[in-house]
């Protein structure tokens, strides 16, 4: 059957038809040893969590859970190098130590580790066997939960006649595919976005997973108001045995935070570092970055129209799926600052020094009096917007001056520099103007470069470098945002906007900061 042009009404009508007629079939598979491993790991994880979190377990669970989920969501043999945890050798010593440090869990730890090592030398591949049993249909897309599983999955599928024509894509790209004959979803339905089922791009959806992961998809509403209609009736295959109904694991944020401390080192001003509220992002290829929560950053959003693809977005509004543009060569931190300094020319040093001076004075005064009293005094001095949040922002090196001059005069009065208020206000205005000019220049150049860039490559690889001569010969790298931490961290300001690796905090070789300073 011919697929209509994607932008035609006939194409959209096909999508509506698929919603009404799509058929979901569940195919479960089993493997004794892997089931033993999964159930033991699941039980151990639950018991350890019940006793409160303990950092000592962090690496143990991180690597084994990742192995468990990866093998459950990709047709890879248990001994595949694509899924092997990097520090597997340490697991045995952890199990030995557990006999003394966690005697109540020692048996389970031993069971998990023993099963893991048996799996590591086992070439069974139950998901692939299940895939090979599916009937042949012309255009089939295989959807895997994580982008990192695409390569291994495609290699495995290409090695067999019956699956050679299948095309593997990550779940995050599933909405971009055209209408096909069949979509195969690997793993538990709950690991995938709801629209894979509720707005399908194929008449046939096959879910292939281990039987303890199988829980049928059910339509859910996103808007309030109770639906007065029954959802589509799907043929539900009841799983046998114990269901392990777990969501796909979030990145281990606490471990990434620890990696930041190791990778980015001590702060310049370690005695009294300026602390800022920062949003942590997990990026493509196991990199991560902190961005000041209320500051904006440049992002590329490929779903936007050409002119709007590059925009500045406040850090706490950046979503997974967009590309974050970060400086990865030519100095750490924000490239706009260094470019603005170039535009300021000979005045830059004096201007920045003045900026640092009054910020330092404000921080010292706040440290002396406490935030509450500082805010009260500022209000007494005529400040219009003095509150906790704004005071923190005014202390930050990222903010240049206040919006309202009355707030600025109050700040100057607080630090005994009222007589210079006009002069400092003017100088800060000059810095601000240069920041805006620098931002516009960089954005314009980036738009040109993005227009010429291989966006398909960017989409596929999740990372692309851009060289901007204006930014001191610096290099910017667009990283796909994989996840955003659920909470805000308070960290030294000097750690913001610096990309670091977090793949394995125990391995010093992989502890890396991407930027050269």
């Amino acid at each position: 059957m011919d697929t209509p042009n994607r932008s035609s009404l006939a194409f959209v009508d096909r999508i509506y038809q698929l919603c009404a007629t799509r058929k979901i079939t569940y195919h479960s598979t089993d493997h004794d040893l892997f089931r033993t491993f999964c159930q033991a790991l699941h039980t151990l994880n639950r018991l350890v969590r019940e006793n409160g979190t303990d950092e000592a377990w962090s690496n143990f669970f991180r690597s084994l859970l990742r192995y468990r989920f990866d093998v459950s969501a990709a047709p890879l043999p248990f001994n595949s190098t694509y899924v092997a945890p990097e520090h597997a050798p340490t697991l045995r010593s952890f199990a030995s130590r557990a006999k003394y440090t966690y005697p109540q869990h020692a048996n389970l730890v031993a069971e998990v580790v023993d099963a893991f090592f048996k799996l590591s030398s086992c070439s069974d591949n139950p998901l692939l066997l299940a895939l090979r049993e599916l009937n042949e249909l012309e255009r089939t897309f295989v959807i895997v939960r994580e982008r990192r599983l695409v390569e291994g999955t495609q290699a495995m599928l290409s090695a067999h006649d019956s699956t050679r024509a299948f095309e593997t894509i990550p779940a995050s790209d599933a909405s971009k595919i055209s209408i096909c004959d069949r979509i195969i979803i690997l793993g538990a339905p709950r690991w995938f976005p709801d629209h894979m089922f509720s707005a399908p791009r194929a008449p046939q959806i096959d879910v292939v997973c281990f039987r303890w992961n199988l829980k049928a998809w059910r339509p859910t509403r996103v808007l309030l108001e109770r639906s007065h209609r029954k959802g589509n009736e799907e043929r539900v295959v009841e799983q046998q045995g114990e269901l392990i109904d777990e969501p796909w694991p979030e990145p281990d944020w606490s471990s990434i935070v620890r990696s930041a401390a190791l990778s980015l080192g001590q702060t310049e001003d370690s005695d009294a570092p300026e602390l800022v509220d920062a949003q942590l992002f997990a990026l493509q290829d196991d990199y991560a970055v902190f961005l000041e929560a209320k500051a904006s950053a440049l992002v590329i959003d490929l779903e936007e129209e050409e002119e709007a693809r590059i925009c500045r977005v406040e850090a706490n509004e950046i979503k997974p799926g967009v590309f974050l543009l970060l400086r990865t060569e030519g100095g750490g931190g924000d490239y706009i600052v260094s470019m603005a300094d170039r535009l300021l020319g000979a005045r830059a040093i004096a201007c920045r020094s003045l900026q640092k001076d009054w910020k330092r004075g404000l921080r010292a005064e706040t440290a002396r009096m406490g935030i509450q009293q500082t805010v009260s005094r500022l209000i007494g001095f005529g400040a219009q917007r003095a509150d906790h949040s704004n005071l923190r922002n005014w202390m930050s090196d990222r903010s240049i001056r206040t919006h309202d001059k009355r707030d600025f005069v109050a700040l100057m009065r607080l630090i005994d520099r009222e007589a210079e208020a006009d002069k400092i206000w003017q100088t800060m205005g000059d810095i601000d103007a240069m920041h805006r000019r620098a931002g516009k220049m960089i954005r314009r150049r980036l738009i040109e470069q993005v227009r010429d860039a291989d966006l398909e490559k960017l989409e596929k690889s999740g990372r692309l470098d851009f060289v901007l001569p204006e930014a001191e010969g610096g290099r910017l790298t667009a990283f796909r945002v994989e996840a955003r931490a659920p909470t805000i961290d308070s960290i030294p300001a000097s750690r913001c906007a610096r990309v670091f690796g977090h793949e394995d905090e125990e391995s010093s070789s992989s502890r890396r900061e991407l930027i050269s300073i």
């Binding site: 209509p4 009404l9 006939a10 919603c19 909405s175 808007l223 639906s227 129209e305 002119e307």
Partner: protein
């Protein structure tokens, strides 16, 4: 034919032929039509619809809005229109349609009763150059429309403005008189906020047809009369499209109905016209869907009053629907 029936007579290209609009497409037209019937100034209504694909939902909805407003205007009697003109202050700038293809601008002078006949008086020329004045009787008053741009001074010589209306679809849907009025009408009935290129393709580049005994082919633009897509045909406009990226820079003209095409459009633009009726189209595959749905759910939970459900027809199964 009545514009309220437009959903039934529109066709879209499929393969080598034309097909009737599917139920979901007619539903969006019906929703637009029904929302537009809500009075301007009444408590603004919000209709949120979650779709499996956003394409065409907003523009079909807008088609319903415009159809409803035009139908409503058509039902105004000549006398009501005359009374409205009579109530306007002298000096109000108006357009007077001299012929089916030309109009001229002037100042309203007031109303005049001669015997049993009433007239609207408009001046088209500065007094010192002759002061050409027309008296338009009640039954011809529909040829006068209030102009959007006021005339600072009357010209020495009237400059009729001609326009062309080459829209077979419109010719099929509206009678001559109604069509002339429709083409001259200047009123922001509908604003669509979304991605400019997508909307442009759906409105300008997609062919639709109306079919009864013969086939009349056109584009939705023939009906929507989007201001920024108008070629210089001299006529008025009924709708506008805005990119959500530049919404802050758009004028504050209040549309009767604002349609937000997609989650981001709604999240960035929902504060723009708080007094307009609003239709929000959400795509299930949109990464911003949870945020937009949460915002709508918050608004629904804090709604001042419950309104009567006015869903014209049962929503198709593929759609989620919330109205308040």
């Amino acid at each position: 034919m009545a514009l309220s029936e437009i959903g039934k007579c529109l066709r879209f290209p499929a393969g080598s032929g034309w097909l009737s609009l599917p139920a979901w497409a007619r539903f969006f037209i019906d929703i637009g039509f029904t929302v537009a019937k809500s009075a301007r100034g009444a408590s603004p209504r919000v209709v949120a619809i979650v779709t499996p694909a956003r394409a065409y939902a907003a523009v079909l909805c807008a088609t319903g809005v415009v159809s409803a407003k035009v139908s409503a205007a058509g039902s105004l009697s000549r006398q009501e229109h005359f009374d409205h003109l009579r109530s306007l202050p002298p000096g109000t700038t108006v357009n007077f349609r001299e012929t089916p293809n030309s109009q001229v601008k002037g100042w309203l002078q007031g109303a005049l009763d001669i015997g049993e006949q009433s007239f609207i008086v408009i001046r088209l020329q500065v007094k010192s150059k002759g002061g050409l004045t027309y008296r338009i009787p009640t039954e011809q008053s529909h040829r006068i429309e209030v102009a959007v741009k006021p005339l600072a001074s009357l010209p020495a010589r009237p400059h009729p403005k001609t326009f062309r209306a080459n829209a077979p679809l419109l010719e099929f849907l509206l009678r001559n008189d109604d069509r002339d009025e429709f083409l001259r009408r200047v009123e922001l009935q509908c604003a669509i906020v979304g991605k400019y290129a997508q909307l442009r393709e759906e409105i300008l580049e997609t062919r639709f047809a109306a079919q009864c005994e013969s086939l009349a082919v056109g584009r939705l633009q023939d009906l929507l009369r989007i201001r920024r897509f108008l070629e210089n045909d001299g006529g008025g406009y009924l709708s506008q499209v805005y990119s959500y990226g530049t919404l802050d820079e758009t004028p504050d003209d209040l549309p009767h109905v604002a349609i937000f095409d997609g989650s981001t459009s709604f999240l960035k633009g929902h504060g723009k016209w708080p007094n307009a009726h609003r239709v929000v189209i959400l795509d299930r595959t949109d990464r911003q869907l949870p945020d937009a749905a949460a915002e709508l759910n918050r608004a629904y939970a804090s709604r001042a009053t419950d309104v009567d459900t006015f869903c014209p027809t049962e929503p198709p199964e593929e759609l989620e629907f919330l109205i308040f």
